[in-house]
Amino acid sequence: MIKNILQSNLVYSFVRDISAIAGALVLVVFIFCALFAPVLAPMDPYDLTTVELSNSLMAPAWMDTGSLSFPLGTDDQGRGILSTILFGLRTSLMVGFSVVVISSILGIIFGMLGGYYGGILDAFIMRTADTVFAFSTTLLAILLLGIFQSRNIWTVVFAICIAGWVKYARTIRGSVLEVKENAYITAAKSSGAKDFRILFRHVLPNALPPVFVLMAVDLAVVIMLEATLSFLGVGVPITEPSLGMMISIGKNYIYAGMWWMVLFPGLTLILLVVAINLFSDWLRDEMNPKLALRS
């Protein structure tokens, strides 16, 4: 399958699409930063022994009150903004990727079973999905997290996944319904293949492309959602600040003129989401069979 993707003109069109390249580049850089945050960051913002309260609220280095050891300034606790962004990126991406992976796997399983077998199983899955979808992932996450006694990054992931699988299930179900009408599925059946083989060898690989697109979009959505949850006070704990948490701490300081506490994490978040969106826009166009047929 990988080979198939590579040899299609995906790569060709990718190289030709500047915004997609830019998006992918930013994304890769960010992922790299997140992975190697402990090495890259000037300081470990979570190492309680190195953070000095006396360094709090310093302006970026190029300003009068700035210091070179904190290139982008510090927050109210004396953590370097740059370092915290690097670590915050880590949290944000971790939540983003975990949610996308978990909910897509759940969604794919439910959607595929529902779509392929139909009947009561399908009705049950889709009714559940409808209900959850009606509430929207955001609302459910807010409610769940509001109720949880203790919150950590995994409860946040859990709360988002509770509703997050639905869109995957719907998408994959839609494409399974379409794929299963193809004659090659009938051909596989007529060769005497068992359901399991048909599902995983014939149906799934062909039903998957729209899910890739959705995953890319969803990654951006989840990262923003996590930020929103942090803002509302139901996100990750403050001990593991995400970008959203940084912004919501910093927002109280913008009027006081300490814009760097919001601007830099805010920009990082926007850049991240823009990058993912650019990339997924391209992916969406490329994977749309109607548009892709032009080749």
Binding site: L48, T49, V51, L53, S54, S56, L57, D76, Q77, G78, Q149, S150, R151, G233, P237, I238, T239, K251, N252, Y253, I254, Y255, A256, G257, M258
Partner: protein
């Protein structure tokens, strides 16, 4: 448009004066209702209100003489029957959160229309001290109305009459022309609760409010720079402290460990950076106005070296694991203080975990005694340390209602005895000495680690031409605001 618009940080939860015992809610009620007594700005000394005099007849009996000629907003006259009704209703959990004081009353006598005699179950030395927050309701209308109406449309004797409560938006009130203290200055007053800090700031910056309470700390300097706005602040009664236990088997059982922790915290730095100067370091939990405050007590010095030495002495050279708990939406910069404390403790080699969470969850956990070390604040509405000691210092004993807020389960038999003994002491001076002794012992045994008294910060728009005097309890009582 109202004559006076006040933006505050927390919304009212109910208009039933007994439904909520938080200062935030009582602050609204103080405008519509009167207690038997009151505590006017600036110092909050007990003063007559609906009662003109009060005496403690014996350890269990209190007598109040009532003011004559007072009328409720609906025109009903105020009498001793209303007082009796009020305190009886306060025993009903459906209407009241003031069960504590109400349940301590054994009987209420009304010898005549303007005398009330309370008999308590056991000695309650601070009984009168709480009378400024037990607001008196009208018996006749209260019985008549259903709970929905009762909880949303207050009828009291206060300086302001209720006009409208648009939930989430504002509360409007208008001056009571027949108020027994004389009609207040501002004819119409609007209180707007705005929970989001930056939005609240925007309210005063855009002249949508005349007075702002709960000015967000980061914005103080900015407001100071604004020529149109004036910052008014005063030390608050509330002390912020780290509660610590001495559960046997934990490192905290050793007083040296507790002392080491106390000496590791650089309170001056917390005050100057986290609190931006808007706090005063505290050596003890009660504030100056409280009976039991001991001016002699001093803070332990900040000395990390000594801390480490103490730890070594106690056999914890390599530190131990400690969790710092606390709320993140209750006190001014509470979560930042926890973070700072965590940092100091890490410096002396402890392995620190931070566990801050919303107050609803945190207080829930406190009552199940989950935490050994946590940040909390305290301000005793009764101005009597004896009551605080019962709730905070006494060994946990739910049956007797002792140690309810002693979440870290500090326990000292000697102290328990002293607390028990103190409640029978009637004489004010004698009582003061006994409470000071309790206070002193608690500080010396490091039953808690006081951090600072908060500073209440207000912003007042100069254009509004108002004279605003903050109160020690943070209530905003509109009748006290003058032109």
């Amino acid at each position: 448009k109202s004559d006076l618009v006040i933006a505050v940080d927390s919304p009212p939860k109910s208009m039933n004066p007994h439904s909520y015992n938080s200062d935030a809610n009582l602050s609204y009620m103080a405008n519509f209702f009167d207690g038997l007594l009151q505590r006017p700005a600036p110092e909050g000394r007990l003063a007559p209100a609906l009662a003109i005099e009060w005496t403690r007849k014996d350890a269990l009996t209190w007598e109040f003489k009532l003011r004559k000629g007072v009328k409720f907003h609906n025109g009903n006259p105020f009498t001793a029957e209303d007082v009796k009704f009020t305190f009886e209703r306060m025993k009903d959990p459906e209407f009241s959160k003031f069960l504590n004081i109400a349940n301590s009353i054994a009987s209420i006598e009304t010898p005549d229309d303007f005398t009330v005699v309370f008999t308590t179950e056991k000695p309650v030395p601070w009984f009168a001290e709480t009378m400024h927050q037990n607001f008196i309701v009208d018996k006749e209308s209260s019985l008549k109305r259903d709970s929905g109406d009762y909880n949303t449309k207050p009828i009291g004797t206060g300086a302001y009459k209720f006009v409208e409560w648009v939930k989430g938006s504002y509360i409007r009130m208008e001056a009571n022309p027949d108020y027994w203290e004389g009609a207040p200055v501002f004819k119409t007053v609007e209180i707007k609760p705005i929970t989001e800090d930056s939005t609240r700031f925007a309210a005063i910056a855009t002249r949508q409010a005349h007075i702002l309470s709960g000015v967000p700390i980061p914005m103080i300097e900015l407001i100071k720079k604004n020529p149109a706005i004036e910052v008014v602040s005063r030390p608050a009664r509330r002390a912020i402290y780290m509660d610590i236990g001495n559960k046997p088997g934990t490192p905290f059982a050793d007083v040296r460990v507790r002392k080491a922790i106390a000496m590791a915290i650089n309170e001056d730095e917390i005050v100057s950076t986290v609190m931006r100067g808007q706090a005063t370091p505290a050596a003890q939990v009660p504030d100056t106005a409280t009976i039991g405050y001991d001016p002699e007590l001093k803070r332990l010095p900040y000395d990390p070296e000594q801390s480490k030495a103490l730890l070594k002495e106690a056999g914890y050279e390599n530190g131990f694991e400690i969790t710092i708990a606390g709320p993140n939406d209750r006190y001014v910069n509470d979560k930042q203080i926890c973070e700072a404390v965590a940092r100091y403790l890490a410096r002396i080699g402890l392995k620190v975990t931070l566990d801050v969470k919303p107050k609803s969850i945190f207080f829930d956990e406190l009552s199940s005694n989950k935490h050994d070390f946590y940040l909390i604040g305290w301000m005793d509405g009764s101005y009597d340390f004896g009551r605080s000691a019962q709730l905070l210092l006494h060994t946990v004993d739910p049956d007797k209602g002792m140690g309810v807020y002693n979440g870290a389960m500090y326990s000292d038999p000697k102290l328990d005895e002293m607390i028990a003994a103190s409640s029978a002491i009637l004489d004010r001076e004698e009582r003061k000495a006994a409470l000071q002794a309790i206070n002193k012992k608690s500080v010396e045994d490091i039953a808690w680690i006081p951090l600072h008294y908060q500073q209440d910060v207000y912003a007042v728009s100069k254009a509004a031409n108002v004279i605003f005097t903050p109160r020690p309890d943070m209530w905003i009582v509109a009748k006290e605001i003058k032109r």
